[in-house]
Protein backbone atom coordinates (compact mmCIF):
# COMPACT_ATOMS: atom_id res chain seq x y z
CA UNK A 1 0.00 0.00 0.00
CA UNK A 2 3.01 2.30 0.02
CA UNK A 3 2.89 4.61 -2.98
CA UNK A 4 6.60 4.68 -3.63
CA UNK A 5 7.79 6.23 -6.86
CA UNK A 6 9.16 2.89 -8.00
CA UNK A 7 5.79 1.21 -7.50
CA UNK A 8 3.97 3.93 -9.42
CA UNK A 9 6.54 3.65 -12.21
CA UNK A 10 5.97 -0.10 -12.36
CA UNK A 11 2.19 0.35 -12.50
CA UNK A 12 2.51 2.93 -15.24
CA UNK A 13 4.87 0.79 -17.31
CA UNK A 14 2.72 -2.32 -17.02
CA UNK A 15 -0.51 -0.66 -18.04
CA UNK A 16 0.97 1.55 -20.75
CA UNK A 17 2.22 -1.63 -22.42
CA UNK A 18 -1.07 -3.42 -21.89
CA UNK A 19 -3.17 -0.55 -23.28
CA UNK A 20 -2.48 -1.24 -26.94
CA UNK A 21 -2.52 -5.02 -26.42
CA UNK A 22 -6.10 -4.97 -25.16
CA UNK A 23 -7.49 -5.75 -28.61
CA UNK A 24 -11.22 -6.21 -28.32
CA UNK A 25 -11.68 -4.32 -25.06
CA UNK A 26 -10.78 -4.33 -21.39
CA UNK A 27 -11.90 -7.87 -20.65
CA UNK A 28 -9.55 -9.15 -23.34
CA UNK A 29 -6.66 -7.91 -21.22
CA UNK A 30 -7.71 -9.72 -18.04
CA UNK A 31 -5.53 -12.84 -18.53
CA UNK A 32 -2.43 -10.71 -19.10
CA UNK A 33 -3.26 -8.48 -16.11
CA UNK A 34 -3.59 -11.58 -13.95
CA UNK A 35 -0.30 -13.02 -15.16
CA UNK A 36 1.55 -9.80 -14.40
CA UNK A 37 -0.10 -8.88 -11.10
CA UNK A 38 -0.10 -12.37 -9.58
CA UNK A 39 2.60 -14.46 -11.24
CA UNK A 40 5.27 -12.05 -12.43
CA UNK A 41 5.19 -9.10 -10.03
CA UNK A 42 3.55 -10.72 -7.00
CA UNK A 43 1.36 -7.73 -6.28
CA UNK A 44 -1.48 -9.90 -4.96
CA UNK A 45 -2.67 -13.47 -4.52
CA UNK A 46 -4.84 -15.32 -7.00
CA UNK A 47 -7.80 -14.98 -4.65
CA UNK A 48 -7.28 -11.26 -4.21
CA UNK A 49 -7.22 -10.80 -7.97
CA UNK A 50 -10.47 -12.73 -8.33
CA UNK A 51 -12.10 -10.64 -5.60
CA UNK A 52 -10.97 -7.37 -7.17
CA UNK A 53 -12.32 -8.51 -10.53
CA UNK A 54 -15.71 -9.38 -8.99
CA UNK A 55 -15.91 -5.97 -7.30
CA UNK A 56 -15.09 -4.19 -10.55
CA UNK A 57 -17.74 -6.24 -12.35
CA UNK A 58 -20.54 -5.30 -9.99
CA UNK A 59 -19.42 -1.74 -9.29
CA UNK A 60 -20.86 0.90 -11.61
CA UNK A 61 -18.71 2.12 -14.46
CA UNK A 62 -16.57 0.65 -17.22
CA UNK A 63 -15.18 -2.84 -16.62
CA UNK A 64 -11.72 -1.37 -17.04
CA UNK A 65 -11.93 0.04 -13.50
CA UNK A 66 -10.55 -3.33 -12.42
CA UNK A 67 -7.29 -1.60 -13.36
CA UNK A 68 -8.13 1.20 -10.93
CA UNK A 69 -8.62 -1.39 -8.20
CA UNK A 70 -5.36 -3.18 -8.98
CA UNK A 71 -3.50 0.13 -8.82
CA UNK A 72 -5.36 1.08 -5.64
CA UNK A 73 -4.47 -2.25 -4.07
CA UNK A 74 -0.80 -1.82 -4.95
CA UNK A 75 -0.27 1.88 -4.24
CA UNK A 76 -3.43 3.54 -2.89
CA UNK A 77 -5.35 6.33 -4.62
CA UNK A 78 -2.29 7.52 -6.56
CA UNK A 79 -1.80 3.97 -7.80
CA UNK A 80 -5.41 3.72 -8.91
CA UNK A 81 -5.23 6.95 -10.88
CA UNK A 82 -1.83 6.22 -12.46
CA UNK A 83 -2.80 2.68 -13.50
CA UNK A 84 -6.09 3.81 -15.04
CA UNK A 85 -4.59 6.70 -16.98
CA UNK A 86 -1.79 4.47 -18.25
CA UNK A 87 -4.26 1.78 -19.35
CA UNK A 88 -6.50 4.26 -21.17
CA UNK A 89 -3.97 6.82 -22.46
CA UNK A 90 -2.46 5.18 -25.56
CA UNK A 91 -5.71 3.56 -26.67
CA UNK A 92 -7.60 6.83 -26.20
CA UNK A 93 -5.10 8.73 -28.34
CA UNK A 94 -5.46 6.10 -31.04
CA UNK A 95 -9.25 6.23 -30.76
CA UNK A 96 -9.18 10.02 -31.00
CA UNK A 97 -7.14 9.90 -34.20
CA UNK A 98 -9.13 7.09 -35.75
CA UNK A 99 -12.48 8.60 -34.81
CA UNK A 100 -11.48 11.75 -36.63
CA UNK A 101 -10.55 9.83 -39.78
CA UNK A 102 -13.69 7.73 -39.49
CA UNK A 103 -15.90 10.83 -39.44
CA UNK A 104 -14.05 12.74 -42.16
CA UNK A 105 -14.41 9.91 -44.64
CA UNK A 106 -17.96 9.18 -43.67
CA UNK A 107 -19.11 8.59 -47.24
CA UNK A 108 -15.82 7.34 -48.70
CA UNK A 109 -16.22 3.96 -50.31
CA UNK A 110 -13.31 2.30 -48.49
CA UNK A 111 -14.62 3.51 -45.17
CA UNK A 112 -18.12 2.20 -45.87
CA UNK A 113 -16.63 -1.16 -46.77
CA UNK A 114 -14.44 -1.34 -43.65
CA UNK A 115 -17.48 -0.35 -41.65
CA UNK A 116 -19.59 -3.06 -43.24
CA UNK A 117 -16.84 -5.53 -42.39
CA UNK A 118 -16.36 -4.39 -38.79
CA UNK A 119 -19.94 -4.14 -37.57
CA UNK A 120 -20.66 -7.88 -37.74
CA UNK A 121 -17.31 -8.63 -36.05
CA UNK A 122 -18.31 -6.29 -33.25
CA UNK A 123 -21.75 -7.86 -32.91
CA UNK A 124 -20.20 -11.33 -32.81
CA UNK A 125 -17.69 -10.30 -30.12
CA UNK A 126 -20.36 -8.79 -27.89
CA UNK A 127 -22.40 -11.97 -28.22
CA UNK A 128 -19.29 -13.98 -27.36
CA UNK A 129 -18.70 -11.78 -24.29
CA UNK A 130 -22.28 -12.42 -23.22
CA UNK A 131 -21.75 -16.16 -23.49
CA UNK A 132 -18.43 -16.08 -21.62
CA UNK A 133 -19.78 -13.87 -18.83
CA UNK A 134 -22.90 -16.01 -18.48
CA UNK A 135 -20.84 -19.19 -18.30
CA UNK A 136 -18.65 -17.65 -15.60
CA UNK A 137 -21.52 -16.28 -13.52
CA UNK A 138 -24.19 -18.97 -13.90
CA UNK A 139 -22.97 -21.43 -11.30
CA UNK A 140 -26.47 -22.93 -10.82
CA UNK A 141 -30.02 -22.80 -12.18
CA UNK A 142 -31.01 -19.85 -10.03
CA UNK A 143 -28.09 -17.85 -11.36
CA UNK A 144 -29.00 -18.89 -14.91
CA UNK A 145 -32.59 -17.81 -14.32
CA UNK A 146 -31.37 -14.43 -13.04
CA UNK A 147 -29.32 -14.00 -16.21
CA UNK A 148 -32.30 -14.87 -18.42
CA UNK A 149 -34.67 -12.58 -16.49
CA UNK A 150 -32.24 -9.69 -16.84
CA UNK A 151 -31.78 -10.44 -20.56
CA UNK A 152 -35.55 -10.52 -21.18
CA UNK A 153 -36.20 -7.37 -19.15
CA UNK A 154 -33.33 -5.57 -20.86
CA UNK A 155 -34.46 -6.56 -24.34
CA UNK A 156 -38.23 -6.22 -24.13
CA UNK A 157 -38.78 -3.45 -21.59
CA UNK A 158 -37.36 -0.18 -20.34
CA UNK A 159 -37.48 -1.23 -16.71
CA UNK A 160 -34.33 0.02 -15.01
CA UNK A 161 -31.82 -2.82 -14.57
CA UNK A 162 -31.17 -1.77 -10.97
CA UNK A 163 -34.50 -3.41 -9.97
CA UNK A 164 -33.26 -6.72 -11.29
CA UNK A 165 -29.88 -6.15 -9.62
CA UNK A 166 -31.71 -5.66 -6.31
CA UNK A 167 -33.53 -8.95 -6.85
CA UNK A 168 -30.23 -10.65 -7.72
CA UNK A 169 -28.46 -9.24 -4.66
CA UNK A 170 -31.29 -10.53 -2.47
CA UNK A 171 -31.18 -13.98 -4.09
CA UNK A 172 -27.46 -14.06 -3.45
CA UNK A 173 -27.79 -12.83 0.11
CA UNK A 174 -30.29 -15.54 1.10
CA UNK A 175 -27.98 -18.16 -0.42
CA UNK A 176 -29.88 -19.14 -3.60
CA UNK A 177 -26.96 -18.46 -5.94
Amino acid sequence: MKAGTGTLDALMTQFLLLSLLAVGGGNAAIPEMHRQAVDVLGWMTDRQFADLFAIAQVAPGPNIIVVTLIGFHVAGVAGGVVATLAMCGPSCLLAFGMGHIWERFRYARWRVLIQAGLVPVSVGLIAASALILAQAADVNWVAFALTMVMAAVGYFTRVHPLWIFALAAFAGYVGLV
Partner: protein, 191 residues
Amino acid sequence: MTEPPSGEGDAINPRPSLPELLFALSYVSLTGFGGVLPFARRMIVEQKRWMSAEEFNEVFSLCQFLPGPNIVNFSVVYGARLGGPLGAVLGLIAILAPAMVVVMILGGIYMRFGDVAALQRILSGLAAAAAGLIVAVSAKMAVPLFRRGFGPAPIVAVAIFIAVGILRVPLLWALLVATPAGIALAWRWRT
Protein backbone atom coordinates in the same frame (compact mmCIF):
# COMPACT_ATOMS: atom_id res chain seq x y z
CA MET B 1 -44.11 -0.44 -20.92
CA THR B 2 -46.31 0.38 -23.91
CA GLU B 3 -43.37 1.42 -26.04
CA PRO B 4 -41.92 -0.96 -28.62
CA PRO B 5 -38.78 -3.00 -27.90
CA SER B 6 -36.14 -0.44 -27.22
CA GLY B 7 -33.42 0.74 -29.55
CA GLU B 8 -35.30 0.78 -32.82
CA GLY B 9 -36.13 4.48 -32.87
CA ASP B 10 -35.23 6.50 -35.92
CA ALA B 11 -36.23 9.90 -34.54
CA ILE B 12 -33.01 11.71 -33.64
CA ASN B 13 -32.75 14.73 -31.39
CA PRO B 14 -30.21 17.55 -31.90
CA ARG B 15 -26.65 16.85 -30.79
CA PRO B 16 -26.06 17.55 -27.11
CA SER B 17 -23.92 20.36 -25.75
CA LEU B 18 -20.69 19.44 -23.94
CA PRO B 19 -22.17 20.00 -20.45
CA GLU B 20 -25.09 17.76 -21.44
CA LEU B 21 -22.62 15.13 -22.62
CA LEU B 22 -20.54 15.45 -19.43
CA PHE B 23 -23.63 15.02 -17.28
CA ALA B 24 -25.03 12.12 -19.31
CA LEU B 25 -21.77 10.15 -19.37
CA SER B 26 -21.11 10.80 -15.68
CA TYR B 27 -24.58 9.48 -14.93
CA VAL B 28 -23.82 6.42 -17.05
CA SER B 29 -20.51 6.00 -15.22
CA LEU B 30 -22.27 5.99 -11.84
CA THR B 31 -25.24 3.82 -12.80
CA GLY B 32 -23.70 1.43 -15.33
CA PHE B 33 -23.55 -1.80 -13.36
CA GLY B 34 -22.01 -4.88 -14.92
CA GLY B 35 -20.55 -3.21 -18.00
CA VAL B 36 -21.41 0.25 -19.18
CA LEU B 37 -22.33 -0.50 -22.80
CA PRO B 38 -26.01 -1.32 -22.13
CA PHE B 39 -26.35 1.81 -20.03
CA ALA B 40 -24.57 4.05 -22.52
CA ARG B 41 -26.71 2.68 -25.32
CA ARG B 42 -29.86 3.10 -23.23
CA MET B 43 -28.98 6.72 -22.47
CA ILE B 44 -27.75 7.83 -25.90
CA VAL B 45 -29.98 5.81 -28.26
CA GLU B 46 -33.16 5.10 -26.32
CA GLN B 47 -33.65 7.95 -23.86
CA LYS B 48 -31.89 11.00 -25.31
CA ARG B 49 -32.11 9.78 -28.93
CA TRP B 50 -28.83 11.52 -29.75
CA MET B 51 -27.88 8.66 -32.09
CA SER B 52 -29.76 6.07 -34.13
CA ALA B 53 -29.24 2.39 -33.39
CA GLU B 54 -27.22 2.08 -36.60
CA GLU B 55 -25.05 5.12 -35.81
CA PHE B 56 -24.35 3.77 -32.34
CA ASN B 57 -23.35 0.42 -33.84
CA GLU B 58 -21.11 2.22 -36.30
CA VAL B 59 -19.17 4.23 -33.67
CA PHE B 60 -19.10 1.37 -31.23
CA SER B 61 -17.79 -1.08 -33.81
CA LEU B 62 -14.83 1.23 -34.39
CA CYS B 63 -14.18 1.32 -30.64
CA GLN B 64 -14.61 -2.43 -30.40
CA PHE B 65 -12.02 -2.91 -33.10
CA LEU B 66 -9.48 -0.51 -31.59
CA PRO B 67 -7.43 -1.70 -28.60
CA GLY B 68 -8.35 -0.57 -25.11
CA PRO B 69 -11.57 -0.39 -23.14
CA ASN B 70 -14.41 -0.05 -25.65
CA ILE B 71 -16.69 2.24 -23.72
CA VAL B 72 -13.82 4.59 -22.83
CA ASN B 73 -12.84 4.74 -26.50
CA PHE B 74 -16.49 5.35 -27.33
CA SER B 75 -16.65 8.28 -24.92
CA VAL B 76 -13.49 9.77 -26.44
CA VAL B 77 -14.69 9.36 -30.04
CA TYR B 78 -18.20 10.56 -29.33
CA GLY B 79 -16.89 13.49 -27.25
CA ALA B 80 -14.50 14.42 -30.06
CA ARG B 81 -17.34 14.40 -32.60
CA LEU B 82 -19.29 16.81 -30.45
CA GLY B 83 -16.48 19.08 -29.27
CA GLY B 84 -13.05 18.22 -30.67
CA PRO B 85 -10.15 17.59 -28.27
CA LEU B 86 -11.97 19.26 -25.37
CA GLY B 87 -14.98 17.04 -25.96
CA ALA B 88 -12.72 14.00 -26.05
CA VAL B 89 -11.09 14.87 -22.71
CA LEU B 90 -14.48 15.62 -21.14
CA GLY B 91 -15.84 12.32 -22.43
CA LEU B 92 -12.87 10.48 -20.92
CA ILE B 93 -13.22 12.20 -17.54
CA ALA B 94 -17.00 11.80 -17.45
CA ILE B 95 -17.01 8.08 -18.13
CA LEU B 96 -14.05 7.23 -15.85
CA ALA B 97 -13.76 9.59 -12.88
CA PRO B 98 -17.09 8.93 -11.10
CA ALA B 99 -16.66 5.16 -11.38
CA MET B 100 -13.04 5.38 -10.19
CA VAL B 101 -14.08 7.21 -7.03
CA VAL B 102 -16.80 4.65 -6.27
CA VAL B 103 -14.65 1.61 -6.98
CA MET B 104 -11.80 2.86 -4.79
CA ILE B 105 -14.28 3.40 -1.93
CA LEU B 106 -15.51 -0.18 -2.50
CA GLY B 107 -11.90 -1.34 -2.65
CA GLY B 108 -11.26 0.22 0.75
CA ILE B 109 -14.34 -1.50 2.18
CA TYR B 110 -13.25 -4.80 0.65
CA MET B 111 -9.80 -4.54 2.20
CA ARG B 112 -11.49 -4.15 5.58
CA PHE B 113 -14.49 -6.50 5.29
CA GLY B 114 -13.65 -8.80 2.35
CA ASP B 115 -13.90 -11.96 4.45
CA VAL B 116 -17.62 -11.51 5.20
CA ALA B 117 -19.46 -14.43 3.54
CA ALA B 118 -22.72 -12.53 2.97
CA LEU B 119 -20.82 -10.01 0.86
CA GLN B 120 -19.42 -12.81 -1.30
CA ARG B 121 -22.93 -14.27 -1.83
CA ILE B 122 -24.38 -10.91 -2.85
CA LEU B 123 -21.56 -10.49 -5.37
CA SER B 124 -22.43 -13.88 -6.91
CA GLY B 125 -26.06 -12.85 -7.46
CA LEU B 126 -25.08 -9.52 -8.98
CA ALA B 127 -22.63 -11.17 -11.38
CA ALA B 128 -25.37 -13.46 -12.75
CA ALA B 129 -27.68 -10.53 -13.42
CA ALA B 130 -24.86 -8.50 -14.99
CA ALA B 131 -24.30 -11.26 -17.56
CA GLY B 132 -27.96 -10.96 -18.57
CA LEU B 133 -27.49 -7.30 -19.42
CA ILE B 134 -24.80 -8.17 -21.95
CA VAL B 135 -27.05 -10.87 -23.41
CA ALA B 136 -29.76 -8.26 -23.96
CA VAL B 137 -27.47 -5.68 -25.54
CA SER B 138 -25.92 -8.23 -27.89
CA ALA B 139 -29.41 -9.17 -29.05
CA LYS B 140 -30.24 -5.51 -29.64
CA MET B 141 -27.06 -4.97 -31.64
CA ALA B 142 -27.70 -8.07 -33.73
CA VAL B 143 -31.22 -7.05 -34.79
CA PRO B 144 -30.23 -4.20 -37.20
CA LEU B 145 -27.64 -6.53 -38.70
CA PHE B 146 -29.97 -9.45 -39.34
CA ARG B 147 -32.89 -7.27 -40.38
CA ARG B 148 -31.09 -6.27 -43.57
CA GLY B 149 -31.64 -9.78 -44.88
CA PHE B 150 -29.20 -12.13 -46.53
CA GLY B 151 -25.58 -11.16 -46.88
CA PRO B 152 -22.15 -11.76 -45.43
CA ALA B 153 -22.71 -9.75 -42.22
CA PRO B 154 -24.77 -12.31 -40.27
CA ILE B 155 -22.37 -15.06 -41.36
CA VAL B 156 -19.35 -13.12 -40.06
CA ALA B 157 -21.15 -12.31 -36.79
CA VAL B 158 -22.06 -15.93 -36.16
CA ALA B 159 -18.58 -17.14 -37.14
CA ILE B 160 -16.79 -14.80 -34.72
CA PHE B 161 -19.29 -15.69 -31.99
CA ILE B 162 -18.47 -19.38 -32.42
CA ALA B 163 -14.71 -18.78 -32.68
CA VAL B 164 -14.34 -16.45 -29.69
CA GLY B 165 -17.29 -17.43 -27.52
CA ILE B 166 -17.36 -21.20 -27.92
CA LEU B 167 -13.99 -22.30 -29.31
CA ARG B 168 -12.17 -19.60 -27.27
CA VAL B 169 -9.80 -18.74 -30.08
CA PRO B 170 -7.38 -16.01 -28.89
CA LEU B 171 -8.96 -12.68 -29.72
CA LEU B 172 -6.00 -11.34 -31.67
CA TRP B 173 -6.05 -14.36 -34.00
CA ALA B 174 -9.80 -14.12 -34.41
CA LEU B 175 -9.58 -10.42 -35.29
CA LEU B 176 -6.68 -10.93 -37.71
CA VAL B 177 -8.76 -13.48 -39.63
CA ALA B 178 -12.30 -12.16 -39.26
CA THR B 179 -11.69 -8.47 -39.95
CA PRO B 180 -10.07 -8.83 -43.40
CA ALA B 181 -12.53 -11.59 -44.20
CA GLY B 182 -15.47 -9.44 -43.18
CA ILE B 183 -14.22 -6.48 -45.23
CA ALA B 184 -13.48 -8.70 -48.23
CA LEU B 185 -16.92 -10.29 -48.05
CA ALA B 186 -18.54 -6.86 -47.75
CA TRP B 187 -16.60 -5.74 -50.82
CA ARG B 188 -17.50 -8.81 -52.87
CA TRP B 189 -21.14 -8.54 -51.94
CA ARG B 190 -21.49 -4.88 -52.88
CA THR B 191 -19.75 -4.88 -56.26
